[in-house]
Each structure stands twice: as structure tokens, then as C-alpha cells.
């Protein structure tokens, strides 16, 4: 069964870790062809929200709908449409770049594995280093490879947790260009970031979280810094 959706809707989503509240009644929607940024201070609940969207974490209350499909019905067919990149990169350092990509391509049951892996290495700018162990790569090279790993199966929803951390300016520029291309291709992209410069260059909308609550959900319109500061400062007791 192939699943597709044009929209992801989060409704009244809450998540508790014991007595600690990580998310509290968050509602938002993201649509195809849009880059939504999740901003907020450390511990605001951004990564928790991303993990729930990736079906890795069960919410304590509320629901997520991927088009017509609910989170609780999420199975392999839905997971096949999700791409997730956390700051831990999800790569095996003891394998080569090609072996990493090939392993995940086969795990996802993809066809044309060699061709897809070759294209992914080219996108990552690692065609020449494809047979080198990932343990010998710089942070930027690993980050580019990890993004291509997350994109191998052409996911509809791409979830990125601080993908710009540790990248030099050239790598940040390349990643922004790649994400813009994905937006043009009709993907839904959700990015957690602390980098407001990158956010201004990339985001269509921003959602600001603070202490697990959604404190702002606005169009980016090139004034992210102002929106962000206003929403954080105005709600600080």
C-alpha cells in the first residue's frame, strides 16, 4: 500500500516525561511545498515534536494526521514517506559512504539501488569519497551524506533537527539550496534550528515553542528575528 499526503496536522499535542511536561497542547499544520521552522530556546520541546512527527515517540495526548492517516495507524507504509535527520546523523562510521546508503536503500526496499546511491553521493558531493569510511569524514561531509540518506526514499515529509550545526558557510549555502529545491518539488520540510540567519533565508513559516507551548505561528516574511524575539520576550515572565 502506497501512502501519500499533502498536509500534516498536529492537534492539541502533549507529551510528558514522567511529571515533566515537554509539549503542551500544540496545534499547527504544515503543507506540501512549504518549509516550516521550529524555533525556540533549548528544552522548548522542538526535538520532542519532531520525534513524534517521525513516529518515534508516542504523544501523551492529542493527535497527528498525515493527510487522512492518523499517527496511531502509522505503519510501515507511512514510515516509507518520512525522512528524518537528527543531529546524531544516523550513519555507521565503520561503513563506507556507499555501504551506508546501500544498506538503508535495501532496508527501505528501494529499486535501482546502485543508481540511487550514485545519485545520492553526487548530490552530497562525495562521488570521489564514496568508498571511504564515514569515520574519516568531516562533520560537513557527514551532514551532507546524512541528508542524502534521509532523502534516498524520496520522502514526502522531511524532518530535520538542527541540520546546520557545525557546517561551514559553503556547506550551509549548499544545504539551504537543496532544501529550497525540495520545497519546489512539493515536499513538506520541517526544520528545527537556532540559526536565525539561515531561518531568514529559508523558512516560509515559523513556529516558536517555549516551555513546551506554541507561543507563535506566523508567516516568516523575512522578519524572523523580530517575530522570534517578540514571541520569546513578550512571553517571558
Amino acid at each position: 500500500m502506497k501512502v501519500d499526503f499533502e498536509e500534516v496536522a498536529v492537534r492539541e499535542l502533549s507529551r510528558h516525561y514522567g511529571r515533566r511536561r515537554a509539549l503542551w497542547r500544540v496545534s499547527l499544520t504544515c503543507r506540501a511545498g512549504e518549509v516550516l521552522g521550529l524555533l525556540g530556546p533549548n528544552g522548548a520541546g522542538k526535538s520532542t515534536l519532531l520525534a513524534i512527527l517521525a513516529t518515534l515517540l508516542a504523544p501523551s495526548a492529542g493527535e497527528v494526521r498525515y493527510g487522512d492517516i492518523g499517527l496511531r495507524d502509522a505503519g510501515p507504509a507511512l514510515r516509507a514517506r518520512l525522512g528524518f535527520l537528527s543531529h546524531d546523523l544516523h550513519l555507521y562510521p565503520e561503513l563506507t559512504a556507499r555501504e551506508n546508503l546501500r544498506f538503508f536503500a535495501r532496508l527501505y526496499g528501494l529499486d535501482r539501488v546502485a543508481e540511487r546511491v550514485g545519485e545520492a553521493l553526487a548530490h552530497a558531493g562525495l562521488s570521489e569519497r564514496g568508498d571511504d569510511l564515514v569515520s574519516g569524514f568531516s562533520r560537513g561531509m557527514r551532514q551532507r551524506l546524512a541528508l542524502e540518506r534521509a532523502l534516498l526514499h524520496e520522502p514526502r515529509l522531511l524532518l530535520l533537527d538542527e541540520p546546520f550545526t557545525g557546517l561551514d558557510d559553503a556547506s550551509v549555502g549548499a544545504l539551504v539550496a537543496r532544501l529550497r529545491a525540495l520545497r519546489e518539488a512539493g515536499r513538506i520540510v520541517v526544520v528545527v534550528t537556532h540559526d536565525l540567519d539561515v531561518a531568514e533565508a529559508l523558512l516560509d513559516r515559523l513556529a516558536v515553542l517555549k516551555d513546551g507551548r506554541l507561543v507563535a505561528l506566523e508567516d516568516a516574511s523575512g522578519r524572523i528575528r523580530e517575530h522570534y524575539r517578540a514571541s520569546i520576550v513578550s512571553r517571558t515572565p
Binding site: 520525534a51 517521525a54 513516529t55 518515534l56 515517540l57 508516542a58 510501515p76 507504509a77 507511512l78 514510515r79 516509507a80 518520512l82 528524518f84 537528527s86 546524531d88 546523523l89 544516523h90 550513519l91 555507521y92 562510521p93 565503520e94 561503513l95 555501504e99 544498506f103 538503508f104 535495501r106 532496508l107 527501505y108 526496499g109 569510511l133 540518506r149 526514499h153
Partner: protein, 225 residues
């Protein structure tokens, strides 16, 4: 699909281990050291205590297995690759089976080193019933690793996982270890008692079925945090 994914995960684990050899060397060294220390304590004038060899073999397997389980999942935790495996659109139980097979193979290699060493140091007839001994070791290893793989995966993000793993694992796998010890002791007697060993092996196979079934059933819900 299920067996293809299990095979992929197992092959990936073995490739990583062949490259690093970290877990194999660590567990084999630890298990051999364990047997050597016990042999100094329990073998007097070339004569070991009755049934000591079987007990020491299984103690070494259990300790080495715990070490291997911890290290295998530490690897998956390091770059959060376990999350990447959980995100794949493949049956999560197949990922469990792949990890289980990788650990079982690793422990069988360690046992292939341990058994001749035990035979040499404790002067027991390891070649009297080789097929039955291999079957007993394999059945016991599967039972131990089935529970261990589930718990090690479940505890991968727990802060005190190194303490919790043996605390949870040993009480549940005690029947497997007892079955292994009694069955192996029957084979190390002179003359070896194939009938008694066969009975213990049947019991171990029963535990394997129960533990693997329960683990397959509970792996997915336990892995969704």
C-alpha cells in the same frame, strides 16, 4: 521482506564487527580470562570439582553475552542509528531478529574458543557427543540472547543501562543457564549421558520458543518511546 530485512541487519552488524573486531576480541578475552581464573581455583592436582566445567562454561557465556549485548547496542546508540532502523518501513520485529542473529553468531564464535579451552583445563570429554554439545550450546545461546537483545534494545537510551541490563537479564534467563549447565554437565560425565542432555536440550528449545515469541510480540511497542 521479513527475512530479507533480518538478513540485512545481521550482515551489517557482522560487517561492522569484522572491520572493528572490538566486541569479538573484548568478549573472547573476557570469557577466556574468566575460565582461566576459575580453572586455577577449581582444579586441584589435575582433578576438577564435579560439574565445575559446565558451570564455568555457562558463566563465561552469560558474562561475555552481557558484554556483547551492551557493546552492540552502544554502537547503535552512538549515532542514534537504532532510531534510523526503527524509522525504516520494514517490520520492526525483523530488525530484532537481525540483531539477535548477529549476537548469537558472535557468541557461538566465542564458545568455539571456550569449549576446547574448558576441555583442556578441566579434562572433560568435549568430543564424546559433539552434535549434542553443539545443539545445547546453540539452544542456550539463543534463549539467553533472545531476552538480552530485547532488554538491551529497550535500555539503549536509559542512563543506567549498564547496571540495568544484568539486573533485568539474569533473573529471567536463569532457567536457560540452569538448563545449559545441567545438560552440559551430563555430557561432560564419564560416560556421557546423552539421554539426560537431550531432555535438557528439549527444555532449552521450549524456552527459546517462548522467549523469541514474547520478544517478537513486545519489541515494537517497547521500542516506541
Amino acid at each position: 521482506m521479513f527475512f530479507r530485512v533480518a538478513w540485512l541487519v545481521m550482515r551489517k552488524d557482522l560487517t561492522v564487527e569484522v572491520r572493528s573486531r572490538e566486541i569479538l576480541y573484548t568478549t573472547a578475552f573476557f570469557a577466556v580470562a574468566c575460565v582461566l581464573v576459575f580453572s586455577f581455583a577449581l582444579v586441584k592436582e589435575g582433578r576438577p570439582l564435579e560439574d565445575a566445567a559446565a558451570g564455568i562454561l555457562w558463566i563465561a557465556v552469560a558474562f561475555a553475552g552481557t558484554l556483547a549485548l551492551g557493546r552492540t547496542f552502544e554502537r547503535e546508540r552512538h549515532s542514534e542509528t537504532l532510531r534510523a532502523l526503527m524509522l525504516a518501513p520494514s517490520p520492526r520485529a525483523a530488525i530484532y531478529v537481525g540483531k539477535l542473529l548477529g549476537i548469537v553468531l558472535l557468541l557461538l564464535v566465542v564458545e568455539a574458543v571456550l569449549v576446547p579451552l574448558i576441555g583442556l583445563l578441566f579434562n572433560v570429554p568435549i568430543l564424546a557427543r559433539p552434535l549434542l554439545l553443539t545443539g545445547l550450546l546453540a539452544a542456550g545461546t539463543v534463549g539467553f540472547a533472545a531476552v538480552g537483545t530485547l532488554f538491551a534494545a529497550m535500555l539503549v537510551r536509559a542512563r543506567s543501562r549498564d547496571v540495568l541490563l544484568p539486573v533485568l537479564l539474569y533473573p529471567i534467563t536463569i532457567p536457560v543457564v540452569i538448563g545449559g549447565v545441567r545438560g552440559t554437565a551430563a555430557l561432560f560425565e564419564l560416560p556421557p549421558s546423552g539421554e539426560v542432555a537431550g531432555m535438557w536440550m528439549a527444555l532449552l528449545l521450549f524456552f527459546d520458543v517462548v522467549f523469541v515469541t514474547l520478544s517478537l510480540w513486545t519489541f515494537e511497542p517497547l521500542m516506541t518511546e
